[in-house]
Structures are given as C-alpha cells and as structure tokens.
Symmetry: none
Subunit: 416 residues, 2 copies
C-alpha cells in the first residue's frame, strides 16, 4: 500500500517552520506497513494544492494532508477540497461538540468564525479533534483515501494515532514492515562499507534493505524488510545483526533509539558506578550530554570546566610548569586532569578532554582540531589523541562523542 503526504502552508516554503509533521506521519505509516513514496510541501494556494493532489493520487492509494484548516482567511484547504471533489459544505454536529468543548475550557463563547470550523465537505467523515477546533476529514473516493488534518503538531499527532491509523488498518489489508537500526561509532561510513561489503551483499537473499545514515562521528545502519509475518521478519533481521556483530561488533554501541550517553548511563546505573568529567575544549558539552538523560543524577556527580590555565591549576592541581612546558593540549595535562577530577569527586570513572576547538588558536605543532582525551578508571589512566577538522561546534561534538565512546569501551572491558 502506498501513501503520500502533502503539507500545506506558506510558513513551510519560506523556511519559517521546519516540517516535523511529515516525519511523524511517515513513521506511523511505516510502522503500519504503508510505504510513503513522496512528501510534498505546497503553499496555501488553490491551484497548487489541487495539482499536488492530482499528482499524488497517480502514485498513491492514501493521501494524507496537514495544514490550512485554521479559521482565518489564509487557510483554504477545506474550500479547496470542496472544489477538488466538486461538493459543498455540510454542518457536522459531532465536530461542533469538539469546537464547543475547546471554547468551554478556554471559558469563551463560540464565535461565528469558529462555528464554521464544524462545516466539512459533504463527501467527508469528520475525525474527532480533541485538542483543537478543526476536525480531521476522511474522504474515500474512487478507491483512494484522502485525509486532511490540522497542521498543529499535537492536534495532528492525536488524530493520526486515535483515528487515521486505526481506520487505515480497517480499510486496507496491510503488510508488515520491520525496521532495525544498528548504531556504530568510531568508523567512517566508507570504511564501514568496505568492512561489511560481503555481509551487505548477503542481505538481498533475505530481502533486507540496508541504509547508511551518518551523523557526528557515528553511522546508523538501518535494516528494513517487509512481508506477512512480523516474527519471521524480526528473526531474519536479528540473525543478520548477529552476523554483523562478528564483523564490526567493536564499533556497535546500540540499537534503534539508543544514544551513546544513554547506553553509558544504563551501564553505570546497573553497576552502581559513578562518573565525573574535567573539560576544557568541550566547555561542558560532555556533561550536557550525560545530564540530558533523565535519572543521570544516579551516576553523574559533577564536573569541572577548566578553560583557563589558572583554573586547571586551582581545580585540578595541574602544575604551572607542566602547562608551560607541555601546553594545555598535551597527554600529560589531560591525564592529570582525569586522575585529579576522579580522585577529588570520588567517582569510579572520569573523562578529561583538552584540545583546540578553533577556528583560531592553532599552531603548526598543535593545529585546530587537535584533541587529547583521557579516561581514568579504578585501575588506570590512559589517553588518546584525535585530529578533527576546522569547525568549532563540530569539533566539540566529535570530541564529546569520541570521549564518551572511549569510556564506553573501557567500561565494557572492565566487565570481562
């Protein structure tokens, strides 16, 4: 079964609003075994909306629209749908109840302009909107389903989950699609592709599709397959992932919605261990990642961010001599930082980083993007040098992910 999404609104085409609705709708459709072939954003323009509908129905069985259902004059989706289907409007008493309800909780009388929100095209069914005044609308015309939803994300989301997906499941016989994501870090996309080329080629036999989705220092591998039996699809996919682990297991840190900081947090929580950080060039970003996880206070106690030489000495006992001789971006300094914050904060592990985030501040010996990362554990202190590029924010993110990954591997090694 094929679907297309049409998002309607001038704000999308001037770049004022990022279209997050499409990704949500696409996720829900895919989970339901419906393949999305195109997402189209058009302005609040009659001809253009109708043209988009004409094109979409050539390719798809299901056309989901969002936007353009507000009570003001710039919202024209409803009237355009009447014109498109050559029908008039009818007043829907059920939809009006929701309009009344929304005004009641706001403590106001329904205005005339909002009474019109309960008028829908004659050939449509109203889908209840618990969160706003514009009902969703469901059209079943010549074997194709068209749905119009408001563009306000939380109104659309409730409509999708409570009304649209259940109705589509009743209306069509849908296949099952299984997606599984494998998250890797520490290996570039092309090196990864080389390493797993034979494995990748073997996926075709099981009708599994593979996609590479790179982000800062990470590559997400997505395996997708479709069929009739979720259990069999899942088993086939998991078998392939087991094979993958034997090839590039050292680079795999998680699956699906895992994050590096979440995976580390879960390990520390399970082991009842704690962590602290001493950051220079990352300026608190590693701490931010760690504390972005709810419940991180169970294992994260604190950090020092030592941007200046003086604070490195004051807080982490890094000797002024060492700083002057070796420089702040050096193995000796970063290892001292890691040891000292671990000792002082009495944690099991610590991370320390020092580097040149850029864009300025580099020298021929120590160019922008040079970073030292140290990890202190109950057993040892060790460090690793990295060379990133010239973009400050990206260097901060790359350093943070590299440091967290170094820690993750060390915690894992401590297990054995």
């Amino acid at each position: 079964m094929k679907a297309e999404i049409i998002t309607i609104g001038d704000e999308l085409l001037i770049g004022q609003v990022v279209d997050t609705n499409s990704a949500f709708i696409a996720t829900k459709l895919n989970e339901a075994g419906i393949h999305v072939c195109q997402i189209t954003s058009v302005s609040d323009n009659r001809e253009h909306i109708m043209e988009a509908l004409d094109n979409a129905k050539e390719r798809a069985d299901i056309i989901l629209m969002t936007g353009g259902l507000g009570p003001t004059n710039d919202d024209i989706t409803k009237n355009t749908l009447c014109e498109y289907f050559k029908v008039g409007l009818r007043f829907d008493a059920e939809a009006y109840k929701d309009v009344e309800f929304v005004f009641k909780i706001r403590g106001r009388e329904v205005t005339e302009i909002n009474r019109k929100q309960a008028e829908i095209p004659e050939n449509s069914i109203a889908l209840r909107n618990k969160n706003g005044t514009a009902p969703g609308m469901w059209f079943d015309v010549n074997g194709k389903v068209y749905v119009s939803m408001p563009g306000v994300p939380y109104e659309m989301k409730a409509l999708m989950e409570d009304e649209v997906i259940p109705r589509l499941q009743k209306r069509f016989t849908l296949p099952i699609i299984v997606h599984k994501n494998v998250l890797t870090i520490g290996i570039g996309e092309s090196f990864l592709a080389e390493k797993i080329a034979a494995w990748e080629a073997s996926l075709a036999k099981d009708n599994i599709k593979l996609a590479y989705l790179p982000s800062v220092g990470m590559v997400r591998l997505r395996l997708s397959s479709s069929g009739d039996d979720a259990k069999i699809l899942t088993q086939k996919t998991e078998k392939k992932i087991e094979e993958l682990k034997t090839i590039v297991g050292e680079f795999i840190f998680g699956y699906d919605n895992d994050t590096l900081e979440g995976v580390i947090g879960a390990m520390l929580k399970e082991r009842k261990q704690t962590i602290s950080t001493a950051e220079s060039c990352t300026g608190g970003y590693i701490s931010h990642l760690i504390t972005s996880i709810a419940g991180s206070s169970d294992y994260y106690v604190g950090s020092v961010i030592t941007y200046s030489y003086e604070i490195k000495t004051l807080e982490l006992n890094v000797s002024a001599d060492l700083l002057n001789i070796k420089g702040a971006v050096s193995q000796e300094v970063v290892e001292q930082m890691a040891s000292e914050v671990r000792r002082k904060f009495k944690t099991d592990y610590s991370i320390a980083v020092s580097g040149i985030a850029g864009p300025s501040g580099g020298t021929p010996e120590k160019p922008v993007g040079l970073v030292w990362v140290a990890i202190a554990t109950p057993e040892r202190v060790f460090s690793k040098k990295f060379q990133f590029a010239n973009n400050r924010l990206r260097n901060i993110q790359m350093t943070s992910n590299a440091a967290l990954n170094l820690l993750r591997k060390e915690i894992l090694a401590d297990k054995s």
Copy 2:
C-alpha cells in the same frame, strides 16, 4: 524567480530523519528574493528522482537538491543525474583536492570508493565542499539551474552560503529583499503581539511585512520588504526598528544572527571582564553555550557542575545543613553557589542555577520545572525563581537562556 527544493533519501520517507535542510534552503532563497513554490521529498529511487525533476522544472527556474551523494551503494543521486542529463562522469581534480584534504586531516589514505567522490557529471561544475568528500554540483541546462548538494546539514549549509547563493545572484537578476531580524527574550509571542499591535499595523504603509518566529523563551521578529533600492529599504526598516525599541526595547537583546551568548561575550570582551558558572540542573549547558562562541577564552575561565549534594559542599562550600533544611533548589543555595564560584574563580560575574529538570523528581512544593537562577556581580548577588514545564531538555534550554538574559541585563545596568 521561482525555485523548488527536492530532498532525497529513504530516511526522510520512513520518518527517521526530519527534513531540516529544506527550511534552511528556503530561508536562504527567500532572503535572496527567490520564491520557493514546492518542497518535495523522494526516496533513493531512480525513476522517482527523475519524475520529481521533471515536475519541478515545469514550475521553477532553479531546482536545488540535497542527499544521496554518499560513497555507498544506497546513494544514487549522482548516477541518476547522469542518466537524467544523458551524460557520463568526469574526474574533477579540484574536487579531489577536497577529498584528499578531508582524508589528510583524518590522517588516512584516500580509499578507492572515496576517490569516486570526485567524479561528477560531465555537464556539471563542482562546488567546493570544505566539510566533506561529496562536492556540490551545478548544472545550467536549457536556462534552468539545477544544484545537487550533500544531505549532511553542515556540509549543505556551507555550500549554500559560500557557493550556491552567490552563484545564483550572479546568474539571475533578483529583486532586492531586505530582511532585518529583531531578537527578543523574556516576553511571550501573544503578549509581544499585543504590545506592538499599533506599531505592527503601521508597517503596511512602508510595505514592510512582519513575521513572529518563536523559539525557546525567545521571539524573533522578522521585518521584510522588497523593492529596487537596498538603501531606501534598509533606511525604512531601521526607522521602524528604532520605533520598536521605544516600545519593547527592554526585551530586545540583538539583531539578525546575534545569539544571547554572543552578545554577552562581546560585552564582556569590550569591558575586559570575566565570567564563571556553577550549574546544577543545566548540567553544563550554560557553559556549552558560552564556549560555543569562538574566542570565549578571553572572558570565560571555567565552571563547576555540581550535580550531587556532596559536590556542592566540596566545590562551592554550600553547607550540608543548608542543603538539608532548604534543599538544593532554593534561593539560599543558588546564591551561595554564585558567590562562591565567583570568589573562587576570581571572575567579575558568575551565574548559578539549581532546579528540577524532570521529568521526575518533583514534589508538591517543588514541582518539575522549578528553577532558581542567581547572578553574582562585583556589587551584589541576586536571584530569581522561574517555573517552566515538564520537558527535560526544554527546561534545560529555557533555564540557560533565562540565566544568560538575567546576566545580560545586569551587565547592561552596570554600564549606567
């Protein structure tokens, strides 16, 4: 001049990735006086990409594409463009230099698969990608311009700003559009709209359009006008902004690409003053914002992140009694944190925050979203209570922005 955007990638159609590229590209095109009529997302599929190109060229003069330029097999945009334009590939020596550069800073040899990144369709010009291995590609065919860019946002952004927009400005005669953004913080969108209603109504006389762009605790007001004379447009706009300042000046912290942390940094730099932070619930995010500014080492010396009670006592001399009686999220504790980090780190200013980021950890007296922010200055220590909502990451961002704004206003007041 009309443009269309085509974003290519299976990950968009299964909802795994939100298409943020389109909004960025649309913003840049609009700023350059180019009207975007449609945004289309299609999968990594030959026929579908070509169909999207065929449809787009019927409506637009400029077609910008992102995605599908990676070195792996699932990326097919480049070969599809060859097929579409009926041309072969040629090796581009300039583009190869960028591939070599990327590998060199990673300290690695260029692999065969990546050497191919420098091959581009014969009828295209390579656009330099400083941040990755896939060059942008510029096609000028039958009076229409087609551009293909990588889907990685920071690679695409640099290409748009450094290459695509300047080339479009040369290639076409574009109308002049003047945009000016006024950045406000500390006032909600609807309150702001009420306060400036009369001023907003007066904009029509000068043919200036206004848009409200809200983000975390901030509202960006964008004034836009178009015409033939940039100077006149700019003067009219600036006059209106001067009027606006007299109405809501206290909420305005900057213009256009300013950031709160950048504005504060510039003030501190100019005054040769310094800052430190003591963070609890923000977990390093305030430090991250401050240090995201290049050159922040001129005024930022460091921070302590005191997530646990023990570290608040150890690092910031907060007495255990005070913590037990008043709790970590209290005026007394946060003011002590601010004073102590300022004293210890010998800075002119300091920020301290303590709160309940959530989603759990709230009590009836201290609900999730409750935050205390303190500022210490050479003259005084003061604090303010905030009540945010239930979303952890949003609470961290809202707290950080509120704290930075409190500091900004205090630094400004110290001037007078």
